[in-house]
Amino acid sequence: MELFNSESKKIISDPINVNNPISLQVLGICSALAVTIRVDQAIIMSLAVIFVLSSSNVILSVIRNFIPNRVRIVIMLSVIASLVSVVDQLLQAYMYDMSKQLSVFVGLIITNCIVMGRAEAFALKHGPSKAFLDGIGNGLGYGMIIIIVSFFRELFGSGTITLPNGGAGYVLFSIPESWYAAGYENIGLLVLSPGAFIILGLVIWFQRELIGIEEEA
């Protein structure tokens, strides 16, 4: 079994680290801005994306030699769209409150460039096991960034940290009332989209600085 040799490890760790879909390739930004108001939303969204990405990669990789080249985009899109619809239906059935909060953004995973991008660039050229690892890796890379962004947005924007619990969310931590009484205020800007842009920008800067990548002028 070739699982977890150095090449497999690289397939998983690259998209988390040096080739992160959000912070390095700057893909999937729209949903990263939309679902990062609360940590629990970001966690569920990450799980949904990891599921869709890894399963679409595997399915497309398995049938890659049978797909007629002329209709490959249509086929990729229908596989991805079906998987996303299944996730959406399951969320509505088993995590109703969460599906209300995520609303259209679950459906919009279909248009998340990461999913189509990995299908076209990787799954159609590699075997199922590598495609699976690639899906997991990119999903984790996406999830890591949006959870980091949501952590800062929720903590400083709403003064809480909420974890998913199947209902309206479990509040793990909230800033004590005494702080508010002493004059502490939440930063309202962070709850709005511009706040997400700023945090995301800082995360991208920080990660690129850490890796030492410089954009060619």
């Binding site: 049938i63 049978f66 797909i67 007629p68 080249n69 002329r70 209709v71 249509v74 086929i75 229908s78 596989v79 079906s82 619809s85 299944v86 239906q89 399951l90 509505q92 059935a93 088993y94 109703y96 209300k100 209902g167 309206a168 709850v191 709005l192 989209s193």
Partner: protein, 237 residues
Amino acid sequence: MHSNAYTLGFVFVVTAILGSILSFTKINVRDLQDYNLKADVKKNILRSLSFEEDVENPWTNDLVETIFSENVQAFCVDKLGNKIDCVLEDVDIEKNQSQLPVYIKVVDGDIAGIALPVAGKGLWSTIYGYIALEPDTDTVLGIQFYKHGETPGLGGEVEKSWFINNFKGKKIRDIQEEIIGIEVVKGKVNLENSKSIHQVDGISGATVTGRGVSIFIAEDLKRYEEYLNKVRTSGTI
């Protein structure tokens, strides 16, 4: 290059398989989804009637059903305020003018609150909600908006607690005891104004949504005028 026949056949097979997976999923979870939707409506009615959710014991669907059936009487009235038969779940409050749903919170046999559905146009969408009145049919006990498509952060603020808490204690009847509803003003309510008891703070950047809310609350409450007058004079359901 594959032949046209192969391409068509391939697309057909893939579509058939994906279609079956989707319908299989939907058929299996549909009942659960319907139950969720119904429980969510009840949850909002309970919230408007100022039932508090216990942090230690959050509202599951089953718990909501229990609280609802133990404390709330639900029925329909017509425009003249007479009780009539209806299937509450099938009543469309936007279109149906002859069947008007009423949800009464009963505590020890007495009316403790009356929740009525309200719905109407905001800026982009129809906003749905419940407004609950105290037994005097004048004071607002609570209000909830549960379904809308307004801009998040602007008109979408209608569902936030800072907005709906403003409604508590406001009066929907003027000095002549006519139902005038609640007005969402532009900006802050001027408390020195004699009308301020009928007004709540607006949402900045969402004037049209606020205007819509004022209009449909007044219109929808007026449909219940006869019934509310009956409750007011008799004190019974």
